[in-house]
């Protein structure tokens, strides 16, 4: 298998690994609901019997996947995230979860990946939906290397898994991450810890660089497994800093904001916290990803100002409460 670099598209990271797995495992079957990817072409050509385009029919794709899985096949199902997760949610809940079938879901379009295509193509609430599904593992890789590991994990996992993929070439920021822990401390910092996931890791890294120029010590956690969470380990990583920021290109409800709030509550962690995520609602506001993020207050420059202000007011509040 070729080594991962930042010249590997994150999608290729996942699908190249699926191809490798298919070469070694004749039980691997790939279903697509009329969605394609560059690195799936070789799969289709090499294993034509095991690549099935079910067409624009997500509900059928899931029930067919269930039937294949009941017969012992290792199944991957693929489409754009919103269609993969919402169009056929009942089929997923009733069959895949209901019978705990080890089907690997892979959806492209995390966050605002498909920016210009509008809210129908934005993956902003699927994390919340899938956190509700018992037994599901939710993976949100930030690099091609992690995406490749997600594919391997999904294949071996005894229950269902979903991997959310962004698109493009993302720097290999966390080459030494321990996959089993579900997160990596990409950089440590005593003042602020930014907990983020997916593509936002790269934005968080830039924000941290800018904040450090302003004299703050800023850490970044990449939470690439959103379910299940190791509350204890994660809380320990957060507790080393004075203030916590969650940065998420997803809805606050059900996304990282509520997830981390749950961790903090469960571990009785006392730490000032500020959340930056997408506002509730469906917005028809065509534009680039950068534009969309900036209108939500998630642009890099605005985050630097907001987080700096938050930290300083949080620290002075703490100092005043001790007086």
């Amino acid at each position: 298998m070729k080594p991962m670099s930042s010249t590997t598209d994150i999608r290729d990271g996942y699908f190249d690994r699926v191809f490798d797995l298919a070469q070694k495992n004749s039980d691997l079957v790939f279903l697509s609901a009329d969605a394609d990817a560059h690195s799936l072409v070789k799969f289709r050509k090499t294993f034509p019997d095991r690549y099935i385009n079910v067409g624009v029919a997500e509900q059928n794709m899931i029930t067919v996947a269930a039937g294949l899985a009941l017969a012992g096949k290792r199944v991957f199902v693929y489409s754009l995230l919103p269609f993969l997760t919402m169009r056929c949610y009942e089929q997923i809940h009733f069959n895949i979860v209901g019978m705990n079938l080890p089907v690997s879901f892979v959806g492209v379009g995390a966050g605002y990946s498909f920016d210009f295509d509008g809210p129908s193509h934005h993956g902003l609430i699927d994390i919340g939906l899938f956190r509700l599904l018992p037994g599901f593992t939710i993976l949100n890789p930030s690099t091609a290397r992690l995406a490749s590991q997600c594919a391997s994990f999904s294949f071996e996992n005894g229950g269902p898994t979903i991997t959310r993929l962004d698109k493009g070439y993302l720097e290999n920021l966390n080459p030494d991450s321990d996959f089993d822990s579900g997160f990596s401390l990409v950089r440590s910092g005593k003042d602020v810890i930014i907990c983020t996931t997916g593509r936002m890791l790269h934005n968080a890294d830039k924000v941290a660089d800018a904040l450090e120029l302003r004299g703050l010590s800023v850490g970044v956690i990449d939470l690439f497994r959103l379910k299940p969470i190791n509350n204890e380990l994660l809380a320990d990583a957060i507790a080393n800093s004075k203030a916590l920021v969650t940065l998420d290109e997803n809805s606050a409800e059900g996304g990282l904001c509520s997830l981390i709030a749950g961790v903090i509550s469960e571990r009785n962690l006392s730490i000032p916290r500020k959340n930056f995520s997408c506002a509730d609602g469906i917005r028809h506001r065509p534009g680039s990803r950068r534009f969309l993020l900036e209108t939500e207050g998630l642009g890099i420059d605005e985050l630097v100002v907001s987080i700096s202000q938050f930290f300083h007011s949080a620290i002075s509040e703490r100092q005043m409460s001790r007086v």
Binding site: V29, D49, R50, I52, V54, G55, A57, Q59, N60, I62, T63, V64, A65, A66, G67, L68, A69, L70, A71, G72, K73, E90, Q91, F94, N95, G98, M99
Partner: protein, 270 residues
């Protein structure tokens, strides 16, 4: 010979209806109408030999499989699996009790191939099983029983189109057309008959008297050898077997009163 077989199936149908009825009365729970409309179909499937499936091979990897969309008819299946030696007496007796057998299937019940309770799923599951069998080069058949109300679900038609396109002729679809859903009559006024629909989707459609076991067996025998997927539309009566229940919309899930139960039992044992 045919008359003999017919009489056997007829008395089996009577036996099954009575057992289902007694279970419903004992537990005060059950879906009599839709269970009674499916009795002859189930007898044809499980007792004629058209399905390679019995008490000795029901977990064998290459077995034929039966999938049911209208899972509220599960009481009939519990009694059939019991008769075949698949479901023990002790477990059957737990029907309706806390922690016992429920009003829908789950995959942990001996004989059940899937969970039931939500309509419109099993045709796709059967398609997946059939795809797997094709990849493995085996000859298993997958018999699916749907309700006609269930055929209002769009997901059924996604799966039907897929089955036709992939030529998954090992999937044999049977529709129990009792022409009643929970709240309404189901008729063909606007979108055509089920036969028209399945044919236009690329399947062969057959129509049978859903209470004539021999006719159903003939259709199943044709279907299991067909190279084109087949849908068998079985015309049935909801609540068949108890005169005051037949075609009665309330008998989808109503439980008879004491007096009604007496009358019903008298008819079933006549």
């Amino acid at each position: 010979m045919i008359k003999q077989k017919s009489m056997c199936y007829s008395s089996l149908a009577k036996e099954l209806r009575l057992k289902v009825f007694d279970s419903v009365i004992k537990a005060n729970k059950g879906h009599l109408g839709g269970t009674f409309s499916s009795i002859e179909i189930l007898i044809a499937l499980f007792f004629s030999g058209v399905m390679s499936y019995d008490g000795t091979n029901y977990t064998a990897p290459n077995r034929d499989r039966f999938l049911i969309g209208k899972g509220h008819a599960c009481l009939a299946l519990y009694h059939i699996w019991n008769k075949l030696g698949i479901l023990p007496d002790k477990e059957l007796e737990t029907y309706g009790q806390d922690g016992g057998l429920g009003g829908q299937l789950h995959i942990g019940i001996s004989g059940a191939e899937h969970n039931s309770g939500s309509l419109g799923h099993v045709l796709g599951i059967a398609a997946g099983l059939a795809l797997a069998a094709r990849l493995d080069g085996t000859n298993s058949r997958y018999f699916v029983l749907l309700g006609d109300g269930e055929c209002e679900e769009g997901s059924i038609w996604e799966s039907a189109a897929f089955i036709a396109r992939e030529r998954l002729s090992s999937v044999v679809t049977v529709v129990d057309r009792n022409r009643l859903s929970v709240t309404a009559q189901i008729n063909d006024d606007f979108s055509g008959t089920l036969e028209n629909k399945f044919t236009s989707f690329g399947l062969i459609s057959l129509t049978v008297d859903g209470h004539n076991t021999l006719e159903i067996i003939n259709a199943l025998t044709f279907a299991r050898s067909s190279h084109v997927p087949v849908a068998i539309i079985a015309d049935t009566v909801k609540g068949k077997g108890i005169s005051f229940m037949e075609n009665g919309i309330k008998w989808h899930h109503s439980i008879p009163s004491k007096e009604e139960a007496m009358l019903a039992r008298e008819e079933l044992t006549r």
